[in-house]
């Protein structure tokens, strides 16, 4: 078995993804079937955000990947040799 920090980080990631899955599932699938005056609606943003926020997150992820590639490419550029 992995020890110490590895186990903590791994289990933390699993826990976070389960939390995210549960919250998002309730938001998208369960809430439309719940009466609009139930108290649970106060814990969730308006429905449009359930599409906008993941879209934004995906854009930010793409941006980070692009910036990383750009930085690494910039650092590895070498001047062309003149024959």
């Amino acid at each position: 078995m992995a020890t110490g920090a590895d186990q903590a980080v791994g289990l933390g990631i699993v826990g976070f993804s389960l939390l995210l899955f549960t919250y998002y599932t309730i938001w998208v699938i369960v809430l439309p079937f719940v009466d609009s005056d139930h108290v649970i609606h106060s814990y969730f943003l308006p429905r449009e955000y359930s599409v906008i926020l993941p879209g934004l997150a995906a854009l930010i992820l793409l941006l980070c990947v692009g910036v990383f590639i750009g930085v690494v490419t910039w650092k590895n550029r070498k001047p062309k040799k003149v024959d």
Binding site: M1, A2, T3, D6, Q7, V9, G10, L11, G12, I13, V14, F16, S17, L18, L20, F21, Y24, T25, V28, I29, P32, F33, R47, S50, V51, P54, G55, A58
Partner: protein, 92 residues
Amino acid sequence: MTKLLEWLLCFSVVGVAWGLVTFDLLDLQLPPVYREVAWPMPVYLLVVFGCYSLATVGYRVATFNDCEEAAKELQGQIGEAKEDLKKKGLKM
């Protein structure tokens, strides 16, 4: 039929079904609750897939076995290689 064609076919069928429900192209007059649930479906499926990937990665990080002897052996070999290269003149 190639795998690519299979996947494309599957995606198109699901996509058409989703489009029909979301944009009401067949005028089926479904109850509004079902339309409410259907329209974020593509984003929802992507998020669920992302959560599954994250959980798999986290689980495998937590259960990956440490190999104590292999680590020690590797450190020993690194030390030997450094000594060897120093003798041959490589500056570290």
